[in-house]
Structure formats: structure tokens, C-alpha cells
């Protein structure tokens, strides 16, 4: 019983997109038009934390965040490629252990990578 969706089934998603974008644009223009406009130089300064701000905020930040993003990309690719397997697993598992073994190898390498990352202290936040 494999349900087969065709490109037409994705049309309502486009409709929702159009409705959402219409709503967002409408609200943005409405507030722009309705709200009061009393601008002054001080008011348009960045609020930051209440006191006068110092310097620019295009600052470099901790490399940890960057590392998290790289590791996320790698793990995300692994996770997404497990989906085609998971969908078929209920079927394959009726014919033996081979399908599970295939995934064990894949998952084993992923776990090995995770252990390596943790042991190297890449995820340690001071």
C-alpha cells in the first residue's frame, strides 16, 4: 500500500506560502502606515543594553559555535540518509538480519565519530 503523491499534491504548500506571504506583507504595511512616526536621532540609536553603545557589533565570536555548525552539517547528512533505510526497515526485517547489519556498520561509524568528538573535548564549554 504505497501511497504515491504527484507534483500536484505539493500545490497546496505553494498556496499556503502565498497566503502566509500575503498576510506578512499586509501586516508589515499596515503597521508601517498606522503607527506614529516621531523619529529622533537618539531614538534611532541601537538600544543595546540601555547605555550608550561602544563600537560596532560585527564582532568575531567563539569558534565553538562554528564547530557546532560544521558537526551539525556532517551529522545532518548522516541522519537524512538513514531515512530511506528506516522507511524500508519494517519490510526488510521480515527477511533476515542483513538490513539491520548494514545499518549497524553505518551507525557504528557515526557513534565512533561522536565518541571521538566528545573525547577530544570539542563540545566542552568552559
Amino acid at each position: 500500500m504505497v501511497l504515491l503523491s504527484t507534483p500536484v499534491d505539493y500545490l497546496p504548500i505553494a498556496m499556503m506560502f502565498v497566503v502566509a506571504i500575503g498576510f506578512v506583507l499586509f501586516v508589515m504595511f499596515a503597521t508601517h502606515w498606522m503607527g506614529p512616526k516621531h523619529k529622533s536621532k537618539v531614538k534611532l540609536e541601537a538600544f543595546e543594553c540601555g547605555i550608550e553603545s561602544k563600537g560596532n557589533s560585527r564582532l568575531p565570536f567563539s569558534i565553538k559555535y562554528f564547530l557546532i555548525a560544521i558537526l551539525f552539517v556532517l551529522f545532518d547528512v548522516e541522519v537524512i540518509f538513514m531515512y530511506p533505510w528506516a522507511v524500508n526497515f519494517a519490510e526488510w526485517s521480515k527477511h533476515g538480519l542483513a538490513a539491520f547489519g548494514e545499518m549497524l556498520v553505518f551507525l557504528g561509524l557515526l557513534v565512533f565519530g561522536l565518541i571521538y568528538i566528545i573525547r577530544k573535548g570539542a563540545l566542552k564549554w568552559e
Binding site: L4, S5, P7, F61, Y65, L67, I70, L74, Y116, A122
Partner: protein, 165 residues
């Protein structure tokens, strides 16, 4: 309605956003146009009923790799004064290099017209059929890819580690 209308709408949007990636002056705007471009290309995959490819394209490219791009842009100090001025020689070299890449990409599509056409209602791109191919016929390359990803992980950790004296 012309059946190829969605294709032309999507194709126009992809070309436009791809051009804007190159033409916009601010790097963050470029990244956003690139994300939009990925969405339109995802739409092309849907028109071909390649559903898994669509999902991967949105989740991995638009949702993960572009986050990394944005992080990188935010990570490097992007004050205007620090932006290096590019000489005309450098611009010329970049044009030639990009032109070569274009040539290679166009050349790669040569012979595609002789391949058998896949009908739009074919279910070859569904997740379960793709899984059958990936874990059947292409099992070895697939497992090798996980080793490649492991290598990338090790590399990332080595690069991100603090230098210990």
C-alpha cells in the same frame, strides 16, 4: 494551462536568484539569495517527482550548509574598512576560472539527450525506492561515504581545536 508553466516560473526565479547571489554587494544578502535559489531548485526536483532529493536539498543544503555559511560570514570580521580591494587582474582571473567551470558544467550535460526520458509520474524518486537502491545496489559506496564523513568530522575537530603548547 500550459503544462510547462511551473517549470518556466521556477526556472526564471532560479536564474534570477542565482544572478543576485553574484551581483548583490552584501555577503549576507548573497547567502539569502542562494537559499532562495535552493528552494527553486527543490521545486524543480518536485516537478520531476524526485521527492527524497527535494527533501535532502531543503534540509541539507538550505537548512544546514547555508547555516554554516551564515556562521562563517558572521564569524569573519565584516567591517567595511577591512574588505580587501580587489585588483583588475584578480577580477580577470576570477572571470576566466568561473568561465572554465561553466564550460565543464555545460560539457557534462553533453549526451544527456540520449538518455531515456523518465515520465513525471514515475515513482523512481520516492524515499522507499531510493532506499532500495541505496542499500542494495549501491551499498558499498554508501558505507564508504560514512567513512568519508567520519574523516570530515576528525578534520573539523582538528581545525577547531585550540593550539596546545
Amino acid at each position: 494551462m500550459n503544462p510547462s508553466l511551473p517549470f518556466f516560473v521556477l526556472a526564471t526565479l532560479s536564474v534570477f536568484s542565482a544572478l543576485m547571489v553574484v551581483l548583490s554587494r552584501k555577503p549576507v544578502h548573497s547567502v539569502l539569495y542562494l537559499i532562495f535559489c535552493f528552494f527553486t531548485i527543490g521545486g524543480h526536483y518536485l516537478l520531476l517527482n524526485a521527492q527524497f532529493l527535494f527533501a535532502v536539498h531543503i534540509i541539507v543544503y538550505a537548512g544546514a550548509i547555508m547555516v554554516l555559511f551564515l556562521f562563517t560570514l558572521m564569524f569573519i570580521n565584516m567591517n567595511k574598512e577591512l574588505e580587501p580591494h580587489k585588483s583588475n587582474l584578480l577580477k580577470g582571473a576570477a572571470t576566466i576560472a568561473a568561465g572554465c567551470l561553466l564550460l565543464v558544467l555545460v560539457a557534462a550535460t553533453k549526451g544527456a539527450e540520449t538518455l531515456p526520458a523518465i515520465s513525471k509520474t514515475s515513482d523512481i524518486g520516492t524515499v522507499s525506492n531510493l532506499g532500495k537502491a541505496l542499500y542494495g545496489q549501491y551499498l558499498l559506496p554508501f558505507e564508504l561515504i560514512s567513512i568519508l564523513l567520519l574523516t570530515a568530522m576528525v578534520g573539523a575537530v582538528m581545525l577547531g581545536k585550540k593550539d596546545v603548547e
